[in-house]
Every structure is written in C-alpha cells, then in structure tokens.
Symmetry: C2
Subunit: 305 residues, 2 copies
C-alpha cells in the first residue's frame, strides 16, 4: 500500500442503509481511491452500531487507497443515512464526535437522488431493506414512505421476508395454501418444525427479514402462486409510490437498492417505461452533496469576510 | 382486611397474556377470595417483566383476600402464560425461583380451553394482543397460530393496531385512501404530523399496537371503508383458525380475549352458530389445571409409597 496517494482534499461519500453501509473515497476529480463496506448505519438501530459500521467501511476504503489512518481528520465527508429524515435522529447523528475535517449529513434517499441524477431534477425509489421514494423537481421535494417496519416499508426486503415467514407458518398450521416457500425457507435456515421456525425469527430485525426476501422471487420464478401473490402486493405498493412521485412530473425515475431490479418487472408498463438507470450510486451522491455543502459554507464564509 | 380467611389450601390461577396478567385466588370450593391485575406476563418480553407482573397481581389478590404475604409459600399456583408453547420459554419460566408451594405451568391457550369447557372437550380461540386457537377432543390437541407479531397473530389486537398505523401513513403520504382512521388516531395520540406519528410507533411493542385496535372498529361502525377492509382481512384469518379447529369436530367453540366479541360479528354464520359462551375465564382454567396436576402428582407419590 505504498503507492502515491496524491494531494488532498479527499472526499468520502457514505451511503448508510438499514442492512449495510457503503463508502467511497475520491479525490477532487471524483477519481475513486478506495471503497469500503460496513454493517447497518441507520441510527434507529443504535448510534454505536451506526458509527461502528461507518468507521469500519471508512478505514477499509482508506487502507485500499493507501491513506494512513492519521488522514481521517482531513476527510470531507458526506453521509446519506436511513432514519435521519426523523428530526431526533438527524440531531443525534449531527452531535456525533466524528473524527473527520467536515461531516455533512442528509437522508440516504436524498443522496440516492443526487447520485442518480447528478444533482439535477428527478425521482428515485429505494427498494432495499426498506422502501421509499423521493422526487426533487424545480426545488420542490416530495418524500414518500420510508417510515419503517412493520407499519411501513411495504414492498421492501423486510416486508417480503416477513410475508415469507407469515405464509410459511400459515402453511405449517394448515390454514394457508401449500407453498414452495416452506421448503426453500426450511432448507435455508436448517430447521423445519414450526416452533423452530418461530424461534429463528422471534427477535428478527428488518435486516434479518430482508435477507430472506430473494427466496420469494426464487419461488415465484418456479411458478409458486403464494410467492407470486406476495410479489404482486409488494409491487403494487411500489407502483403507488411511483405514481405519486409522477405528480411532480420528474424528468426521470431511477431505482436503487438490492431488490429494485427484482420488483421492476412487476410494475405497470407505464412506470417501467419511465425507469432510467441511475447515473451513479448513492455514495457518489453523498460525495457531491458534501462538495456542494462545502462550497455553500465557503461562500457564506467569504460573504461574512 | 381482617375478615376470616378460612383454612388453606389456597389456589391461585394466573392468566398471563402479552398485555396483562389476571389472577384469581380461590379456596378448595372455588370460592373467590381475591383477584389481581398486573402487566404483561409473556416471558418473551423478559422474565423480569413477566414475574413482576405475576407478583403484582398476586399480592393484590392476597391483599383483597386479607391473606398476609407470608402465606405466599402456601399457595398452589396454576399459570397459563403466553409464549410458553416455545420449549425454551417453558424451560425459562419453569426455572423461576418462585415463592409458592407449587407452581404448575402451561400455555394461556390451554388454561383458556380448560376454563371455557370445564376441562371437557372443546375448542377455544383467543383474540387478544395475539391470536391463536386450540381444540382438545378425545385427547387429541390441535394448536394453531400464536406464533407472535409481526409474522403471525393476524386478526389480533397487535395486527389491527399495526394495520391502522400502516393505513394512516398511506393516507398521509397520499398513496392510500382518505380514512377516518387518521383523525381518530391523531386525536388519540395528540400529534398529526407524519414524522410525529412515526416517532410515536417507532419502537412500539405488540401491546402498544393492540391498544389502538378498537379505533379500527370505531371507524368501521361509522362506515369507513378502509377500516372495514382491515376488519374483513383480520376476521378472515380468525375464520380460517375456526374452520381448521372444526376438523377435530369439537362439541363447542368459545372465544376469549379483549377483541373477541368485536371480531365475531364478522365471521361466517356457520362459525358464529357454533360459538358458545366460555364457562369460566382462563384464570379459573389455570386453577383447575393446578388442581388436576396436583392430584396427579399426589397419586404418583402414593403409587411410589
């Protein structure tokens, strides 16, 4: 790791979701110097978990870039974190005694939108551990969903995983249709008795449920009617988010998140026709957010001088 | 509290659910000497919470009976607790260093069935914080549901409360129908901004959700279509439990739990026709369970002698 690391400033972009946290370390020309991956960075799951995840991913990216740990204090950081749309969590994270030069905070949905459309007008829908959407058009911002599991986040990984467990238990109890989901789940978790399945999920977090969401799509591909019905209900929710975002008439719509490209084929042709690939990943949106906020704050400093 | 308390033995019956715990203190002739009420007694919520709830309710019943606390060690106790159908929780509660003479443990569903049918064949469905059913016919026992929230317990208080919050947030986000539920909920919790509603329920337990279930029935009575649709889906699940229990052909079916009599009118005429009022409450079932277990253990002691 002794290659030339060039001159700062260095920008770190953080995309922190409910299951994992991705960071990218770039130079002033957006040249990628290093990347890192950590655990959940949603402060609702506890500030220690969130900041540990962020630091794990950050140090990994710095090591990859050959940037010594002492340079932490020189990084200009942008962070888009799930959960900080809630004022109390925004405040909590803002008060973090971070080790960076600067730390600019916003929601993961916001940085996803900035990344997807390079900061221009557009809409974005996240289908990951949670589900939510945002349109930013002519300075008007519309923010839908993302309220959390289990009362919200329909059509998300946590919702699909929970529906999977629900329908497997109905099958096991003899009050729901026989479904391939039962075999797939039991094979995956290595137990098959009802009470063992319940024990496995009794204290499950949204992240744990989300891990099993792909089984629903695997069963649907094999023609399982229960799985198909679950997907249709989940996709209907995502469709509603899209239709609502279209009320602002965004020039384009991008999807982000681990389940996005599994859900898109189940949306209406009208929505599918407006989907455009995201220009860049949310962690780059976080970098650009940091740079824009830094420029603003430097401009206002100059004004004051 | 100086009235004559008679001679022991005294029997204490405990019905411990996810939201509250009821106890009854009786003499050998089932004469009620005292009653008590405590918080949640489901060991899934923590053993300290469960045993505190049990002790609060027990001491209250003893005070009402005029039985000094020193008599705790003379009580013969039967407890039907939610959650102990799971072997690990049965073990945990069994290991409790209880202060009683004897402590006989089974599930709340079992004591509800014993109470409802005086220990004879029959079926019972609980619609309280959770939902489940049990049929006990010719020594064959069929146990359905009760797996916990959010992957199970459809049609229960926690499920109705969660559906309520879900549909209010859909309304607030402009992706669900306008519903009276929004006004009712906002009035009840004293906030109306979306993020404030989310904050209110962010870490809600099943018990908290269950508290708001009656609002769904209140809205339905005023003709709210969203509330009616929620109730129809919840009732369909309870109907499935009933139909499955009927496969054992139980001579009668009783309903127990705070929401039971709200849900029954939405069940099919075929199910409604077989509903009979429970003979006695689950806490009496717990008393009879204790007495039956005590007789068995005394009989086996005699055999050994």
């Amino acid at each position: 790791m002794n290659r030339t690391i060039g001159q700062g400033p260095w920008y770190l972009g953080i995309d922190g979701g409910g299951s994992k946290c991705r960071v990218v370390l770039v130079d002033t020309n957006d040249q990628v110097l290093g990347e890192g991956l950590g655990g959940p960075a949603n402060p609702l799951r506890g500030m220690k978990v969130a900041t540990d995840s962020i630091m794990t991913a950050t140090l990994q990216a710095m090591a990859q870039a050959g940037l010594p740990e002492a340079y932490l204090s020189q990084l200009v950081v942008g962070a888009g974190l799930a959960g900080v749309n809630m004022p109390q969590y925004f405040k909590l994270v803002s008060e973090w005694q971070h080790p960076f030069a600067e730390f600019y905070l916003t929601s993961d949905l916001h940085t996803a939108c900035i990344g997807a459309h390079q900061g221009r007008d557009g809409a974005v829908i996240i289908v990951g551990t949670g589900s939510c959407g945002l349109a930013d058009v002519d300075g008007q911002v519309l923010d839908i969903g993302g309220h959390g599991f289990p009362y919200g986040d329909n059509g998300s990984g946590s919702w699909f995983g929970n529906q999977l467990v629900h329908h497997v238990l109905l099958h096991k109890d003899g009050i729901g249709a026989a479904t391939l989901l039962t075999d797939l789940l039991c094979q995956d978790i290595g137990v098959s008795a009802t009470l063992d399945i319940v024990s496995h999920f009794m204290h499950a977090t949204p992240t744990v449920y989300a891990k099993y969401a792909p089984l629903v799509f695997a069963a649907a591909e094999q023609g399982d009617a229960t799985a198909l019905a679950i997907i249709e209900r989940g996709a209907a929710h995502i469709e509603h988010i899209a239709q609502r975002l279209f009320s602002l008439n965004p020039p384009s719509l991008s999807f982000i998140g681990g389940l996005a490209y599994k859900v898109i084929p189940y949306l209406s042709p009208a929505v599918q026709a407006r989907v455009r690939e995201a220009h860049a990943a949310p962690e780059f949106g976080a970098v650009w957010f940091a740079r824009a906020q830094q420029s603003k704050s430097q401009a206002s400093t100059k004004e004051r001088v």
